[in-house]
């Protein structure tokens, strides 16, 4: 028995070893190196000086101006705030668009349900870059929207709606990118819902609105929270939508980080921003885990 137990442990370790090595070296390793680089001094032409410095982090709030004086610099706070607002807006819009759809799908027959859910997942598995640039064809000058407006006589040939290179365009791109991630968890929690609850409520003369507010919404809460996180987190670090649809005029967190490794060549600052984003995401995930635990407890008590 003992021998078998030892054997089992040995097998387990052997099976898990590749995982530990690969993720340990090539995922945690890079994160650690990045953390180290964020604590070094930047080299103007790119790369780093191997010298300890907090300037990467300091720069998030304070910046030396052109005269080499340290001053409070709200610029990055503005970028962070902009990312937050856009990510929140995208999450809210996804919820608004996705919830009724998720509900509707969850109430179909098994066959239809499976097909519809499959259709929801397809875009998720296709290339994000391609799906985003499809919107250039739709929003761009002379694109699908403008030419249909032209066709309907709502817009003369010379003028433009100027849909591209705006925050709205970025927002559309973000919602489009991550909408499936909102629908799936909501669907999962709605599917489990017992229809008899609704029947009982209706028998007790609940109105439609009350059905949604008092039964459907609370029951789908875990799905809504899960979906919101799945949308919010990638939106925070989005790079493709602002890059292709935003015209590079207004940076978001993701594009700011990428910017530091291309045009600006400030690795420590870019690494510090990445650490900041990572910390934010971890906080959100911890918050989510707490919520889940509380929900499970609540479920258990019922």
């Amino acid at each position: 028995m003992n021998i078998q137990g030892e054997n089992k442990t040995q097998n387990r370790i052997l099976s898990l070893l590749p995982l530990w090595i690969v993720i340990g070296i090539f995922m945690i390793g890079p994160l650690l190196v990045m953390a180290t680089v964020s604590l070094m001094e930047s080299n103007v032409y790119g790369g780093v000086h191997f010298k300890f410095s907090l300037s990467g982090y300091q720069q998030i709030l304070f910046d030396t101006n052109l005269f080499d004086e340290i001053e409070f610099n709200p610029a990055y706070i503005i970028i962070i705030a902009r990312s937050f607002v856009l990510a929140l807006a995208a999450t809210f819009l996804s919820l608004l668009i996705g919830f009724p759809a998720a509900y509707y799908i969850s109430r179909q027959s098994n066959r239809v349900k499976n097909i519809l859910i499959f259709l929801v997942t397809i875009p998720f598995w296709t290339n994000l870059l391609i799906r985003t640039f499809a919107w250039i064809i739709i929003l761009g000058k002379g694109g699908v929207i403008e030419s249909s407006f032209n066709f309907l006589g709502l817009l003369d040939k010379e003028s433009s709606l100027n849909l591209m290179y705006t925050n709205t365009a970025i927002l559309i791109g973000l919602v489009y990118s991550y909408l499936p991630l909102m629908v799936l968890p909501i669907y999962a929690s709605l599917e489990k819902m017992d229809v008899r609850l609704l029947e009982a409520a209706t028998d007790l003369y609940s109105s439609r609105i009350e059905l949604i507010r008092k039964i459907i919404f609370p029951l789908s809460m875990p799905g809504i929270i899960g979906g919101s996180i799945l949308v919010f987190v990638p939106c925070l670090g989005a790079f493709i939508a602002p890059d292709l649809l935003g015209g590079g005029k207004k940076l978001l967190l993701g594009s700011l980080i990428q910017f530091q490794f291309s045009y600006a060549r400030n690795w420590p600052f870019g690494a510090a921003m990445a650490m900041f984003l990572l910390a934010l995401v971890i906080l959100i995930l911890i918050f989510n885990a707490k919520l889940n635990r509380r929900h499970r407890k609540y479920e258990a008590q019922r």
């Binding site: 898990l16 929801v120 640039f133 002379g142 690494a271």
Partner: protein
């Protein structure tokens, strides 16, 4: 009459007016951009936005474009290396985690597997770039393959884990009762039952690797440009029917694999 009455009442309770129409709009929103892109790839005009007529010329042009071909080959080499590696690692991990009982490093291993999903892609991309650059690791395509393997692991893991959990452990126990030794039980019972899950995991990992853009953009050096990175540089030059054509092919390819995965899985579940 009465039961029918009741049925209509049920309908009445479940369904909210307008939700059906809303769902139709929702699917329209999801698919119209893809549809438009594919349509415009058949535009004979040189300018993406001006429709002049139906033509296959951009597709034929793709086949004479060396850069697109070498980018495609790179993408395939990377996906055919990263996806199997990720699948193998995911399979062993799933076996240990699902069948290994309770053990101390179980939570940790679970966490390690999901880590690439938790960390925002841009952070992974930048971290990997710094990592390779500061250690001076440059094996060309190998760098990209390593990076892809890491973030493909969780995608390969999910279906394998699901398949293992759905498997009836009594089958294995029964086999062992019949004096089958452990390795042969694994070979004759566990592995065949697990194969569909492994294939599913491989397909998902493959699609994820083929489609990845941000990490590849940051990590890839000379001669390791992949198709999405090449498409990005084309898009930057302006949307042309040629980009639409190569993008449409990519979309169709991904949708094909995922559909295959879906049909395959439904067969198993039935």
């Amino acid at each position: 009459m009465k039961p029918k009455d009741k049925k209509t009442k049920f309908r009445y309770v479940w369904n909210f007016p307008g939700f059906g129409g809303w769902t139709a709009i929702f699917f329209g929103f999801l698919y119209i951009p893809i549809f438009v892109l594919v349509c415009y790839s058949f535009n004979s005009s040189k300018f993406a936005m001006i429709w002049t007529g139906f033509s296959f010329r951009w597709y034929t042009k793709l086949f004479s474009n060396d850069d697109i071909q070498s980018a495609t080959i790179n993408s395939l080499i990377i996906a055919f290396s990263a996806a199997p590696l990720a699948t193998i690692i995911a399979t062993f991990s799933a076996l240990a985690i699902v069948r290994g009982g309770e053990f101390r490093s179980r939570e940790l291993s679970n966490g390690l597997i999901t880590l690439p999903l938790m960390v925002p892609e841009i952070v992974t991309a930048v971290a990997t770039l710094i990592f390779f650059a500061s250690l001076g690791i440059n094996f060309g395509l190998m760098n990209v393959i390593i990076a892809h393997t890491v973030f493909c692991i969780p995608f390969a893991y999910m279906p394998i884990k699901a398949a293992l959990e759905a498997m009836d452990p009594n089958l294995e126990l029964a086999a062992r009762d019949l004096y089958s030794d452990k390795p042969s039980t694994f070979r004759t019972i566990t592995l065949p039952l697990l194969t569909p899950g492994i294939i599913s995991g491989f397909m998902l990992a493959f699609v994820i690797s083929i489609d990845d853009f941000i990490i590849t953009l940051m990590v890839a050096g000379g001669g390791s440009t992949t198709l999405p990175v090449y498409i990005y540089s084309m898009v930057k030059m302006g949307v042309s029917p040629e980009v639409n054509a190569v993008s449409s092919l990519m979309l169709v390819f991904s949708i094909f694999i995922v559909t295959l995965y879906w049909i395959f899985n439904r067969k198993i579940n039935n």
